[in-house]
């Protein structure tokens, strides 16, 4: 951690605040910055957790910091500890982070299953792992949905059901796949019909990106492309936003391919360009 950052951190730690909000604002900025800043955020958040033990948002930010610096297992252990500390009453963000950890694990196992070199036994095991991870993720996003019926957990629920449908089809469970697909479409339709708001500072990106994903899950490719383009052009849009949207869209396209669903060329190209641009 640079001397300048250290000095800033020490100054923050030496002060007392009427509430956690002001120091947390700094921790959040650092958490989304460079590796050095994330280190400083970790130190600040550890102190804030001691001073403000009832503020779940502080603990969430600590888990988010861990997710960006340490292994998934460490993050999951931290999330379990937070759940215990807060008597099982978590918020949308914490459940969503928890869901994201499992979702990422699911993606990794699904990718392993789909490797052309994968042997049948390893492929079956990887598919099972992926399904289990997706189901854990779904459980967390459903809990997030109960906390706050915003579009973010909802689109993840719809997406996970869509991917689970693909996995079920790979397993040869066609009927179950159809059911999951229908459920996914219903959630996506609900999301598009609903009027939800978000207080996120980069809402101009995530709001249209969420709508774009819902349209894509329904196979409404033109509408999806329009929303994704709006999101990518949003004033707050950064490279990491584009990368995240692109990766999610690529996974959606892959799940479509697994289910032999037609996908527009424009969407394939968009997924590719967003990911590539984000990777820069």
């Amino acid at each position: 951690v640079s001397d300048k950052l250290k000095a800033e951190l020490e100054a923050l730690l030496a002060r007392r605040f009427p509430s956690y909000h002001e120091p947390l604002r700094q921790a959040r900025r650092w958490n989304r910055g460079t590796a050095d800043e994330r280190e400083a955020a970790a130190e600040l958040l550890a102190e804030l957790q001691k001073r403000y033990p009832t503020a779940l948002v502080v603990w969430y930010e600590g888990a988010f910091n861990l997710a960006n610096r340490e292994t998934r297992e460490q993050t999951l252990n931290r999330l379990k500890a937070i759940e215990q500390k807060f008597g099982g009453r978590l918020n949308e963000d914490t459940h969503s982070l928890w869901g994201r950890c499992h979702k990422t694990a699911g993606h990794e196992r699904l990718e392993a299953a789909l490797l052309p070199t994968a042997k049948p036994e390893a492929r079956a095991a990887a598919l099972e792992d992926a399904e289990r991870a997706y189901l854990h993720a779904l459980e967390q996003y459903n809990k997030a949905l109960v906390c706050a019926a915003t579009g973010f957990p909802k689109v993840n629920v719809a997406f996970l059901k869509f991917v689970l449908a693909a996995v079920a089809r790979e397993h040869g469970h066609a009927k179950r796949a159809e059911e999951l697909l229908e459920e996914s479409r219903n959630v996506a339709r609900e999301l598009l019909a609903g009027d939800w708001q978000t207080a996120l500072p980069d809402a101009d990106v995530w709001h249209p990106a969420t709508l774009g994903e819902a349209h894509a899950l329904l196979g409404e490719w033109d509408a999806a492309a329009l929303q994704y383009e709006r999101a990518a052009a949003g004033p707050s849009a950064q490279l990491h936003h584009r990368k995240s949207m692109g990766k999610q869209l690529q996974r959606l396209v892959a799940a479509c391919d697994l289910q032999n669903m037609p996908v527009s060329d424009a969407i394939r190209a968009l997924a590719q360009s967003l990911s590539a641009e984000g990777a820069k």
Partner: protein
């Protein structure tokens, strides 16, 4: 001439308990000890004290036992009807509220508080129920404090706690809200005449936040309540309430964190107390003003004159504002729990309740400023709250605040200071309610939110405070 034969002393009066009173006593014992065991023995003890407190009565009928918010072990407040032998001439007849206690010092303490806090030779008034000590000689002991004859004092057949009248008015619109407002004004008008004139502006002498004195002794200190909020039950409520407002620091901040901050800053070397504490009025005040220490008569749709009792916490060193914030909080948290708690809310009742209470509190704060600035306080239900029951509750709470403006502000030319002090004390009181272990989850949450919204209001006007609010 042979001397007149000495008349034998009258036999002690018979003491008879109504079924209701006995059930209430059973309930009080269960609350205090977890079991009603010992009911007959306790009743016998109370009978003995009553017989000695009313030696010239033919019989004493115990009509009711008043249950406060919290059971006080070894202390009982009874509503009795003493029947005289010759009711035309006897003094020991009529209805009265009687306080009895195992420890004589508790009765003495209240008697002393009453005598030192009220004007010299003050006999009681239309609102203050006069207090008479009853001594027994064998063995010598202060056996009871008898409050002025309750029934003629209040003057109606149905007598209820102010709290019950307020809850009924809020929930059902009966009794008429206007008459409850009149009763509140009368209550504070008497407090303002009898107790408050001797108040003074307190010096900034403390290194911690000091509240009312305890039992006439040392002042209570707010920071002693902080750790109680870290116990499991209160902690859960804090966690859920904080989570409900995590992005809304301009509406709610955790009051425990906030007052901890003030306490720590006060203790920094060189800290100036007036940067953290408001100017407060100290002086004679009731000290325990809540809806169960005030009785009101009900007649048809109207509330009559209030009658105040229980002077145990009276002191010349009380915070005047405490009377207002305590009454406001204790009435408010029960009314909000009755009106807004929804056990079937999908994400659990507490987040839903917290959001609704904060909305009410924030609107109440805005209305208070508007009323203060225009000088127009509502005379009846305040339609700004969009729900008839909340409109009625707001009118009653704004009436309490209007009275605070009068007694803490206008009469002392503290036109701006009073509200700053009010929010500070409202926050402090909410934090101290954690001591009350029998509070329900909703009452605890409502008290916490009341204190948290008050903390934001106070912080916005605190000298040296930075800007509050902004996106995380």
């Amino acid at each position: 001439v042979s001397p007149a034969p000495e008349l034998p002393p009258p036999p002690p009066p018979a003491v008879v308990w109504t079924h209701r009173a006995e059930r209430q006593l059973q309930c009080e014992l269960t609350r205090a000890h977890g079991t009603p065991d010992g009911l007959p023995a306790r009743r016998d003890t109370l009978n003995g004290w009553l017989a000695r407190a009313f030696p010239r009565a033919a019989a004493v009928v115990v009509l009711d036992v008043y249950l406060g918010f919290r059971p006080r072990k070894g202390e009982f407040i009874l509503f009795v009807d003493a029947r005289g032998r010759n009711e035309q001439s006897e003094t020991d007849c009529g209805t009265a509220i009687v306080k009895l206690a195992d420890e004589e010092r508790r009765l003495h303490s209240e008697l002393t508080a009453w005598r030192t806090s009220t004007p010299a030779c003050f006999p009681g008034s239309a609102v203050f129920m006069g207090l008479t000590p009853r001594y027994a000689t064998d063995p010598p002991r202060l056996v009871a404090l008898v409050y002025q004859d309750a029934q003629p004092h209040i003057g109606t057949d149905e007598i209820v706690w102010l709290e019950s009248a307020v809850l009924r008015a809020v929930r059902f619109g009966v009794p008429d809200t206007h008459t409850v407002i009149d009763a509140l004004r009368e209550l504070f008008s008497h407090l303002g005449r009898v107790l408050y004139p001797a108040a003074r502006v307190a010096e900034f002498e403390e290194k911690c936040i000091e509240l009312n004195p305890r039992d006439g002794g040392q002042r209570r200190q707010l920071h002693k309540a902080f750790d109680l909020w870290d116990r499991d039950g209160p902690m859960r409520v804090r966690q859920q309430v904080t989570t409900a407002f995590e992005l809304a620091e301009n509406r709610y901040i955790d009051p425990v964190d906030y007052f901890r901050f003030l306490h720590e800053e006060l203790n920094r070397p060189g800290a100036r107390a007036d940067n953290f504490l408001p100017r407060r009025l100290r002086g004679p005040a009731h000290g325990d003003l809540h809806g169960r220490n005030v009785l009101v008569g009900l007649e048809e749709n109207r509330v009559g004159t209030p009658a105040l009792f229980d002077y145990e916490n009276m002191s010349c060193d009380n915070l005047l504002g405490w009377d207002f914030v305590k009454l406001e909080t204790e009435l408010k948290i029960r009314a909000l729990s009755a009106v807004l708690w929804d056990a079937s809310a999908p994400a659990g009742p507490l987040p839903h309740f917290a959001a609704a209470v904060e909305k009410f509190e924030t609107r109440l704060a805005a209305r208070t400023v508007a009323c203060r600035d225009t000088g127009q306080w509502p005379e009846g239900p305040d339609p700004a709250f969009g729900n008839e029951r909340l409109d009625r509750l707001a009118a009653l709470l704004l009436c309490v605040r209007q009275q605070a403006e009068l007694h803490l502000g206008a009469r002392r030319k503290r036109f701006r200071d009073w509200l700053h002090e009010y929010y500070f004390l409202l926050g402090c009181y909410g934090v101290t309610t954690v001591r009350f272990e029998n509070q329900s989850e909703s009452e605890r949450a409502a008290a916490l939110i009341s204190a948290g919204v008050a903390a934001v209001q106070y912080e916005m006007g605190r000298p040296g405070a930075g800007p509050i609010g902004g996106a995380l």
